[in-house]
Symmetry: C2
Subunit: 344 residues, 2 copies
DNA sequence: CTGAAAGCGCTAACAC
DNA sequence: GTGTTAGCGCTTTCAG
């Protein structure tokens, strides 16, 4: 049996020969550039079809230095990446935007810092034109690697350092948190607890800051740290109740954690929202709409943020961006919005 | 401000010059081939470090025709891909195996047949050495594209066609289903329903066949088709109960669907397993262990199957595989195992 | 054991 | 408009 791998793929040379033109002309037709007379172009196209010609990307990349591929790097154990709907939505937004611009999404999974070397090599190897990096923890070295590798990058979420030419997309975490807490205050709640995300991520810190902005003198025991999982939310809720059995509201830094908190509340026989009002963050419909009761939460348009990341990167990559006088690119911070359901 | 993108990356030529050797020798050192005298090799390595040299993949690929990258293509709406723990586990297995062999995993997402063209082009463009394709529906054209593109492929799950040189990895769906149903029979159950997966996938058909093997004369109304989601499982359970209010057992073609069925059963006030015994399929711990009651199910080692897919493909790609007398590669069908918990 | 030289397939000046 | 030509950065015979 012949090995299909070794079936030599036709080259541009072959196409040109068959169409009776030069390689250059064939290349022009294949790349859709103007200024090839119609009949010639037609002959080339036909040859392409007959031969089933597909350009060799490696050869093309070698000269153009472009891949039309973008890496998405997630600095998070695969488990959470796959489990948390947050990523799914963001990746979908990215995927759609990239696809619309004929760019291929290349998802690079990391199971932990041990994989960073491999990812760094991949980026430095010039496989992709740019990178979208996610879910940074404060010590994260991925963006540094990308920069060293000369790969333009946009970061999902505000990075912990600040730096004039670091591009990122984030939502107004602090403002959203303030709105959440004020909503609870407006409901007459006075013992408002907070379930924070892991505090090595800026999103968690910003949401905590927003909470503190509104409640400056709050007892530290009203704050517990979760890890953006339902279990973490449940655990935090438990701690909170141990210290403050009579708390009357909880603002959780994510819907997923809020769902865990809800479970604990129910198990302990506390009614939501009568005894304890609960507000989440994210508005992940598959979670917030499904909990019992449905979750009041702070919406951020996650898919749209994914799109924006991709768009920002693509613009950064565009030759136009390098021209003097082109508008400078800057980070994007999107607005959030309170969504009132039954839990608060 | 200087644009980091345009910082020219050092070439092998530069490394060679700095080390005072020829490009050929530098290449040998970089690629770890034998037969370069130690002191020379050392000088080259030092030059590499000092310059921060990383080989240009495009150039390398152009001559070696290898990418050391494997595509994973999922023919499933992103939504399910991200939601269903099944994929997460399989991808993890693949990822680990590929990483161990210094291959990069490139995940290609498709939102539907509209994206197939793009994926086909990507495969044909020679970006990857091979492809792992998942979740085929009977009309699926992805494997055909891969073959046309000359990209060696291993399929996850038995494909609907049969073909001597199509490689796949699957579990013994039919046998597993038989065991599940016999277990239910052994429990004294006599009105055993089945919640099937979408019948355009072989896994669903095979599990249904297994059920029918044991229960050849079953009433068609005891079979309902789901879609591998909890909601689908719930809907199917509803239909089943409408026709057979007194059924005493259900075999669901996946744990995820079983979890939906469990919810419906509870809502209708039926006790599990007293009134209705339930058996799932997959043994996805995050689901089966968490349901109430925990699910009796048929275990397949999903992560290991992912590993096997990767290993099979890598072997297929290895130069050794092309040698005459090399062992022929063949599809792999893994055994399943009954795991008894509380639901049956 | 090391170096010189010939491409891999393609694009982009530059001529014609 | 179209063809000719010179590389892109690397690996790999083939001499020495």
């Amino acid at each position: 049996m012949s090995d299909p791998t070794f079936a030599p793929r036709p080259t541009l040379e072959a196409v040109a020969a068959r169409a009776g033109v030069s390689r250059a002309t064939a290349s022009r037709v294949v790349n859709g550039s103007e200024g090839v007379r119609a009949p010639l172009a037609e002959r080339v196209r036909q040859a392409v079809d007959e031969l089933g010609y597909v350009p060799n990307q490696a050869a093309r990349t070698l000269v153009t230095r472009r891949n039309d591929a973008i890496a998405v790097v997630v600095a998070e154990p695969e488990t959470r990446f796959f489990t948390d709907p947050f990523f799914a939505q963001q990746v979908r937004g990215i995927s759609r935007e990239l696809t619309a611009h004929d760019n291929q999404l290349v998802l690079l999974l990391t199971e932990g810092a041990a994989d960073y070397g491999r990812v760094g090599r991949y980026l430095a190897g010039g496989h992709v034109d740019g990178a979208l990096i996610f879910s940074l923890h404060s010590d994260d070295s991925l963006p540094v690697m990308a920069r060293k590798a000369g790969v333009p990058t946009v970061i999902g979420g505000r990075p912990s350092w600040s730096d004039a030419d670091t591009l990122y997309v984030d939502c107004d975490n602090r403002g959203g948190a303030q709105v959440a807490v004020r909503h609870l205050l407006g409901l007459g709640r006075r013992r408002i607890a907070h379930i924070a995300g892991p505090l090595d991520q800026t999103a968690s810190v910003d949401r905590l800051d927003g909470y503190r902005d509104v409640l400056p003198d709050v007892d530290p025991k009203l704050i517990a740290e979760g890890d953006f999982t339902p279990e973490g939310g449940a655990r935090a809720m438990g701690e909170l109740l141990d210290h403050w059995p009579d708390l009357d509201a909880v603002f959780a830094a994510s819907d997923v954690m809020a769902s865990g908190a809800l479970r604990v509340l129910r198990n302990r026989g506390m009614r939501v929202p009568e005894d304890v009002a609960v507000v989440g963050f994210d508005d992940i419909t598959s979670v917030a709409d499904w909990t019992d009761p449905p979750l009041t939460t702070i919406r951020q348009n996650i898919e749209e943020m994914g799109r924006m990341m991709a768009r920002l990167l693509l613009r950064r990559l565009s030759p136009l961006a390098a021209v003097d006088g082109a508008p400078a690119l800057s980070p994007i911070v999107t607005a959030t919005q309170l969504v009132v359901r039954a839990s608060a």
